[in-house]
């Protein structure tokens, strides 16, 4: 192990040398890209896509945006692999929690329908209908 790396890490000073290599263009491009991706996300809702198309598009745009923020804005792309695995590794166990809670949610819904006689597919309520009802009451 060389002297230089030990010194660098005690003071943390020498990191600037390689950070300066990021040209300003990278940030501006990612910035614009995030704007465009957010615009696309919003269009998914505005153009009223439904069903599988909607979920797929929402997730694709979400993961792209998250990926660019983490990789470029948070500089993870330029970190050493030891730090990257420490940052990204632990959160993956959340997938287990998601799986467990999804299965539990299905189960709870099933028992509510079977034992409490609650509706399986209640019609979603439009906001405008609620407002009309309120006006009628007054």
């Amino acid at each position: 192990m060389s002297e230089s790396i030990v010194e660098n890490n005690v003071s943390g000073e020498a990191d600037h040398a390689d950070d300066q290599q990021h040209p300003i263009g990278v940030y501006l491009k990612v910035w614009i890209l995030l704007f465009v991706l957010s615009g696309f996300s919003y269009m998914v809702d505005f153009l009223d896509f439904q069903g599988m198309v909607r979920w797929t598009l929402i997730l694709i745009f979400m993961f792209l945006k998250a990926g660019f923020i983490i990789a470029i804005f948070m500089h993870v792309m330029w970190e050493r692999m030891t730090l990257i695995t420490t940052i990204l590794g632990p959160p993956t166990v959340i997938l287990v929690l998601i799986g467990l809670m999804a299965s539990e949610g299905e189960y709870v819904k099933g028992t509510r329908i079977d034992y409490l006689g609650q509706p399986a597919n209640a019609e979603r309520i439009h906001v405008s209908d609620v407002h009309l009802e309120e006006e009628a009451e007054h």
Partner: protein, 223 residues
């Protein structure tokens, strides 16, 4: 061995070397590492909220409201779906961009530019919190409560106030944090030690707040 040589050994060898290093495993300033550890723990808190949201939404037999209608605004005589949330999203992304530039100028020790960019970031954050306050006021006046919701499943109210409230708290703390660091940068506090790491650390926190919003926007507002 130089640092360049250390980087060229391949990722697996890097991990082995770093973890078997007597002195330290992470070759970054400790302040930055501590911020990362904090952000990882915060990730778990937000994940628990969002997973809880998924669970109640899947198990609710009452219908879920249409978020794009609940968060619609009447502009120029037209009802535009989800427009306020879209504007908030763009504001937060813009603030992330100005923060990224501030971090870049920190490498050049450009005090004026760093301070101004960080203050602009804080102002964007402040306007975000302001819009959120407006959104809360609007929903509360329509009868949405943590325990009630006139547009469908009551869980919508609970999740809305809990998740956006916790995120809004993060933004508010970020605005204070940014303002303090910008003030100290401008005063030249970091020139004394010739150490501008704090700008990058503050940047990590701010980008994380933006990152969390990406997930809230997708799962709560768009889903």
């Amino acid at each position: 061995m130089t640092e360049q040589a250390l980087n060229n050994q391949g990722h697996m060898q890097n991990i082995v070397d770093d973890w078997s290093n007597d002195k330290q495993a992470y070759h970054v300033p400790w302040g930055k590492l501590m911020m990362w550890i904090f952000l990882i723990s915060d990730t778990f808190i937000f994940s628990c909220f969002l997973v809880g949201y998924m669970n109640v939404r899947m198990s609710a037999t009452e219908p879920w409201p249409y978020p794009s209608e609940v968060f619609a605004l009447e502009l120029f005589g037209q009802n535009i779906p989800l427009i306020l949330i879209a504007i908030m999203t763009f504001i937060l992304i813009t603030s992330s961009g100005t923060m990224a530039l501030a971090v870049r100028y920190a490498h050049f020790r450009d005090r004026k530019k760093i301070a101004i960019l960080m203050l602009i970031t804080a102002l964007f954050g402040l306007s975000f919190v302001g819009m959120q306050a407006f959104e809360w006021t609007k929903l509360i006046s329509e009868g949405v409560r943590p325990w009630a919701n006139p547009f469908g499943a009551h869980q919508f109210g609970s999740i809305f106030f809990m998740v956006t409230g916790f995120h809004g708290l993060h933004v508010s703390i970020g605005v204070i944090y940014l303002s303090i660091v910008a003030f100290k940068v401008n005063r030249g506090d970091y020139d004394k030690k010739d150490n501008y790491e704090i700008v990058e650390i503050t940047g990590l926190y701010w980008h994380f707040v933006d990152l969390v919003w990406v997930f809230i926007f997708a799962f709560f507002y768009l889903w």
